[in-house]
Symmetry: C2
């Protein structure tokens, strides 16, 4: 049995709320602080990418018995729906029959998570600005402005679940030997919307993640329960096809007519949404260490913010909690060891999902439209169905398994080298299902 | 003629002081702020690596006619002196006859630079803590403590020459789209000292940079004008041979007796210095952008802190000033363009010297003791003397030329690939001066 501690969680987002539930279950007093108003009382939209919950996310929810509650709010997507100009809609299944990722609105999920955490007995304090933390004593410093005056809030332990621009990390960052990097993509994103039909049904297939891949830019759409889709336009900030270039109504409408003609009918408020919604940035942030003795720990985006192209930001953050909880089970009251092992175990995996996410923009925006890529996927699928013990496709290993991200990245690189060799075989377009190809892959697997 | 501006330089280190001189020469009012006391009034020692001024550094000084003044304070080093246990001292010349790098004490040089900048009419304000800067108005915020109250100091323009932990950059870092990384080595360093002989002469050859390479750790010694040497011990923080392991007098003395027996006689105050001087850290810091409109610019370590193993920290910072000055000449009063072109032109080169510096620890600590490495260097020297137009050794291109660092890095990588092929030739140990080897290198150069 763990000694009951008084723990502060900074940040009431998805990771902060779920962590609060885990800490309550372990018998601690939990206070959650957020600088923003209670998300249940405000409108939440305009800069959101819908979430795609997959295995790792579900596990963290199911382990505390909350999966079923959340599943009611989510829509399964078993495939990508690829929209090309002048071609029929093409589907690419994500995994095996019955395997899906689940679309859920960030706002809807976050509200539910806060409700659930409150029901567990976690106390939430909204509109409370935490500006700094004294690491050695786990004391939060709260105030109206950054320059004070501040009120001191002492705890036994502090978790920084306060996102990519974490104030808790900000303090750790000023310590010596703190490694840190933040790198912005030259690509931004903007939320658009496909409303429901009059009868509440979806205008597009609701069990697909829709992609309009256009190489340097792309549009995506994920379904919501109310019949609408949340769309996201990803595009460079500057250049020929860019946010900068879409200065006015005419430029915007011409651009959509040329590149996304099939969306004209389904995005009625294009102009309003485009010019009202902000253009948001995409950042990869890495740091180390994540913890300070047995007093302070970072979790989720606060220690590993990634770009959204693998759909794993929330899944990775939830898996942090799973790993932390494993360490809590294993090391009891020894928080020094719990935090040390948590960061040590988790860091290589979050570096790996950062890399995979970064690479996946290219896959989504370009390769999904590519004939050669389709053939590669077909060969992979065919071979992995014949030899499931020898070949798990990278996407499946990342999304439909609990194997470490770092292992998935390494395995994916080996598979990539093999499939590139196979694609060079003469007549591969016709013979891809032949015993020769099968044997060649087996041979290459043996060597790798 | 440039319009005279009121310019603040934050930081009175080497780059800040030299920049002040350049800005005064261009007709501006220049105020230099430093949070520390006047370096001319305090003792400066205990955590310094001596500087090695080379071509780029001299150019920036000579362009404002200050080279000769500074040369009086410096000692030329034309070679490395390699100290191995149980072997005779070996010399490795840095370049061609007459080419040297110049050892100078950081404290001695910094004092002189402040004197020179004051003589030019720059005004220095010491013990003044700048905590923040408002970028849009080039206003400094000065105060006793970080929490205020602060006094506002408005300028036309601000330069952040405030080093690796720059407050000016700290403000820029909070902007959106600011890319940033800091990465610490697991190696620290400590200053030690070889005093002069009673007659003021040097105990070791004074025209050498002395190295005791021991793979994971090494000791270096650079000469001072007063007959002493400033030594630096580079070593991991943790592990078998580490700062952590040298806990007491006995452990330290045993360690030096085993690994640096030849230094016992020349470092008399080993124990005192070792336990009194701090163990310092080594960081590589990169960021971008470096400038804010026509208002604020970072320069030197504030925008590109590097590890010291190529001896180019100060040389790179001084070259920043050379490049900035070229832009000032070219673009007159258009500071928007001056700053934009300065950062654009300079960034790839400072990234390159960061990479070269990082790699050079291995060269200094391991390869200088390696027989194969000696042969490589001999082949390079022989070939480059025969074909100076076709092969400039990497070290020379970095240190004894003004060619861009990025070009040197790229060229160095090509040369490395060639020399590795040549080292695999049968009998290379005996035949390295043969026409066959010469032709093979020429052939490989043609292909690369």
């Amino acid at each position: 049995m763990q000694t009951s501690l008084k723990i502060a969680v900074v940040g009431s987002g998805l990771v902060g709320s779920l962590l609060a539930i885990y800490l309550k279950r372990a018998g601690h007093t939990v206070h959650v602080y957020d600088r923003n108003p209670d998300i249940r009382t405000i409108q939440f939209s305009g800069r959101s990418i819908n979430l795609a919950v997959s295995h790792r996310g579900w596990r963290a929810l199911d382990d505390v018995g909350l999966g079923d509650e959340i599943r009611k709010l989510a829509i399964p997507m078993d495939k990508r729906a690829i929209h090309l100009v002048g071609e029929p809609l093409a589907y690419q299944y994500y995994g095996k029959e019955g395997q899906s990722i689940y679309s859920i609105s960030r706002g809807v999920l976050n509200r539910k998570m806060v409700d659930l955490a409150e029901a567990e007995g976690a106390e939430f304090f909204f509109n409370q600005r935490i500006w700094d933390v004294t690491l050695a004593t786990a004391t939060l410093h709260k105030g109206e402005t950054e320059k004070g005056p501040w009120e001191d809030l002492p705890y036994d332990m502090v978790f920084g679940a306060d996102g990519a621009f974490s104030r808790v990390r900000h303090r750790m960052q000023r310590q010596n030997m703190f490694n840190y990097s933040q790198e912005f993509l030259p690509i931004g994103y903007k939320e658009l919307n496909i409303p429901a039909n009059a009868d509440g049904s979806h205008k597009l297939d609701k069990n697909s993640l829709h992609i309009w891949p256009r190489n340097e830019f792309m549009l995506t759409a994920l379904p919501n329960l109310d019949g609408s889709f949340t769309c996201t336009l990803f595009m460079p900030f500057e250049g020929e096809n860019s946010f900068e270039a879409l200065k006015d109504k005419k430029a915007l409408e011409d651009f959509f007519a040329t590149h996304f003609p099939s969306t004209i009918d389904v995005i009625p408020k294009l102009v309003e949404d485009f010019f009202e919604n902000p253009t948001s940035t995409l950042v990869t942030m890495k740091c180390y260490p994540w913890t300070y003795e047995d007093k302070v720990a970072l979790i989720g985006d606060a220690c590993h913010a990634i770009v959204p192209f693998y759909g794993h930001g929330m899944n990775a953050g939830f898996e942090d909690i799973t790993v932390l909880n494993q360490m809590m089970q294993q090391y009891g009251n020894d928080w020094h060891t719990i935090l040390k092992e948590y960061q040590k175990s988790r860091k290589p995996d979050t570096d790996a999902i950062a890399e995979l996410s970064y690479r996946n923009f290219q896959e989504m925006s370009s390769k999904t439209a590519d004939v050669k890529f389709h053939l590669q996927k077909k060969i992979e699928k065919w071979f992995s169905e014949k030899h499931p013990d020898k070949w798990q496709p990278l996407y499946s290993r990342v999304t439909f398994s609990y194997r470490p991200y770092a292992e998935a990245l390494a395995q994916g690189d080996r598979q990539k080298a093999i499939i590139e060799e196979v694609m060079n075989l003469k007549g591969i377009e016709e013979n891809w299902q032949s015993p020769a190809v099968e044997n060649r892959i087996l041979e290459l697997l043996d060597k790798s």
